[in-house]
């Protein structure tokens, strides 16, 4: 059986001024796969993620999404982004809207879903991320963990085919990390194709099908989770692992 690559990144390069943040990066993601991207800060992980939904246009190389070359899309970039959910380190819930309104906004204003239907969708999703009781709370009345779970629900409301998580737990207090990772792991288990930039090795072990290790803008290693944690990894990846595990 030929594995259809759901997402394929081929030799992308990106520079900010004189700093090259992505150096000929290539990777593939199969449908329903969860890929965890790890690496030291400043290694280009976030930029890689942001280039996938075209928030950061690449200088060269190609990105294929569901078989289509999307790299040079400019005018239709918003249509592509409607199929790709993104979760940010700082949650970025819309401060002027309540939790439920945050989830309702995109289906209503982008897809033209009626307010009643959007409300149903939102309530379902808030239940899925385990905070239906906070539907009417505003972002500044929620803890970081709660905000991040609302942010996941907001992204899911567009029924994305791919989820991108950009260090989703880095801004959280330790006791709140678990509640967010649980929601993410559950989504992955249900077959949501996901790319997760994180330092949470526990999550990688538990939910990742594959681990990608980046350093200084290069993808150094891309291995199955078993291989990666089983020890057959590149020296630089091993050194990084030792650092963050001890």
């Amino acid at each position: 059986m030929v594995v259809e690559h759901f997402l394929e990144i081929v030799g992308i390069n990106k520079s900010f001024g004189s700093v090259q943040v992505l150096k000929t990066c290539s990777m593939t993601v199969a449908a329903k796969e969860t890929v965890v991207v790890i690496g030291p800060s400043g290694s280009g992980k976030s930029t890689l993620l942001r280039s996938i939904n075209l928030l950061e246009p690449v200088d060269s190389g190609d990105i294929f999404f569901a078989g289509e070359n999307i790299t040079r899309e400019r005018k239709k970039a918003h249509l592509l982004r409607q199929q790709i959910g993104m979760v940010f380190q700082n949650f970025e819930l819309f401060a002027h809207l309540s939790a439920v309104e945050n989830v309702m906004l995109a289906p209503m204003k982008i897809l033209g879903v009626s307010s009643a239907d959007a409300h149903d969708i939102a309530v379902d999703l808030l239940r899925k991320v385990q905070i239906p009781e906070k539907a009417d709370a505003f972002p500044d009345e929620l803890s970081g963990g709660q905000q991040q779970r609302v942010a996941i629900a907001r992204a899911l409301a567009m029924r994305p085919k791919l989820m991108l998580y950009d260090e989703p737990t880095s801004a959280l207090d330790p006791e709140m990390i678990r509640e967010v990772l649980d929601v993410m792991a559950e989504l992955s288990a249900e077959g949501m194709t996901s790319i997760v930039v994180t330092h949470e090795m526990g999550f990688a072990r538990r939910a990742a099908d594959r681990i990608v290790f980046m350093e200084q803008g290069e993808i150094i290693e891309s291995a199955s989770s078993d291989q990666f944690f089983g020890g057959t990894v590149n020296d630089r990846a091993r050194r990084f692992l030792d650092q963050i595990l001890h």
Partner: protein
């Protein structure tokens, strides 16, 4: 001092007209001022070189000269270029152009106060640039700019008195004319002062209403708690907040 005369002035048709003219000047100039300010703020947001130069020049010119100078200049100089406008139009033109410069800065600060991450989040959901502005940036910026715009509203009401110099029959000119005709300065000016205070009070009330309407939390709480309970303070949720 004769209170009867003050009351007589208050209800006299010339004072009512004068106050109406002041209000009309204020509202029209504010409207065009906000429009000009919005255009300038958006040009500045776009960050093009020409845009920056144009807006800088505009601000430099209209903030750098007195409004009174601008009023007199427009009224007296434009006709020599063959542009003949009524005193009222000249007044609105001068006040709007001046107001636009200040509004541009207020609106720009409001737009900038909405963090970049909020815009990115809107785009990442699949919004177009204009959807993102409309549903994410503007609602948040509106709440931020409202208090300074309230200041400008009240400032404009008082600024409008300046156009009496080009013989627009607004409140101050009416009061001054009446006073010099009757030699009753105290009564005439008191009547005008009462009108000014009444109008600024109304503006302040309007500002509070809009602020409540734009604050989602206050709005939601208003909906949750019936008016009578709120007035009597008998509602539990009211007591908690």
């Amino acid at each position: 001092m004769s209170i009867e005369l003050v009351l007589h002035y208050l209800v006299s048709s010339s004072f009512i007209h004068g106050a109406g003219m002041t209000l009309l000047l204020t509202v029209t100039s504010l409207f065009f001022g906000v429009m000009i300010g919005l255009v300038l703020a958006l040009i500045q947001e776009s960050r093009t070189r020409t845009g920056q130069v144009v807006t800088f020049f505009y601000l430099w010119l209209f903030r750098g000269t007195p409004v009174l100078f601008q009023v007199i200049f427009i009224y007296n100089v434009l006709p020599s270029f063959g542009i003949k406008l009524s005193a009222f139009v000249c007044a609105v033109l001068a006040l709007s152009l001046n107001e636009g410069a200040y509004m541009a800065e207020i609106l720009r600060s409001g737009l900038q106060a909405v963090k970049k991450g909020q815009r990115t989040a809107g785009l990442a959901l699949g919004m177009t640039g204009s959807q993102m502005m409309r549903y994410v940036v503007v609602p948040q910026a509106a709440r931020i700019v409202l208090p300074p715009i309230g200041n400008q509203m009240i400032g404009m009401l008082k600024l409008s008195a300046l156009v009496s110099v080009i013989a627009v029959e607004e409140l101050l000119l009416v009061a001054n004319q009446t006073a010099s005709a009757d030699f009753r300065y105290f009564e005439a000016l008191t009547a005008a002062g009462i009108y000014y205070l009444a109008m600024t009070t109304a503006f302040m009330g309007l500002q509070i209403l809009i602020e409540t309407a734009l604050d989602p939390k206050k709005r939601q709480r208003m909906r949750r708690v019936p008016l009578t309970e709120r007035m009597l303070g008998t509602s539990k949720s009211f007591a908690v907040r």
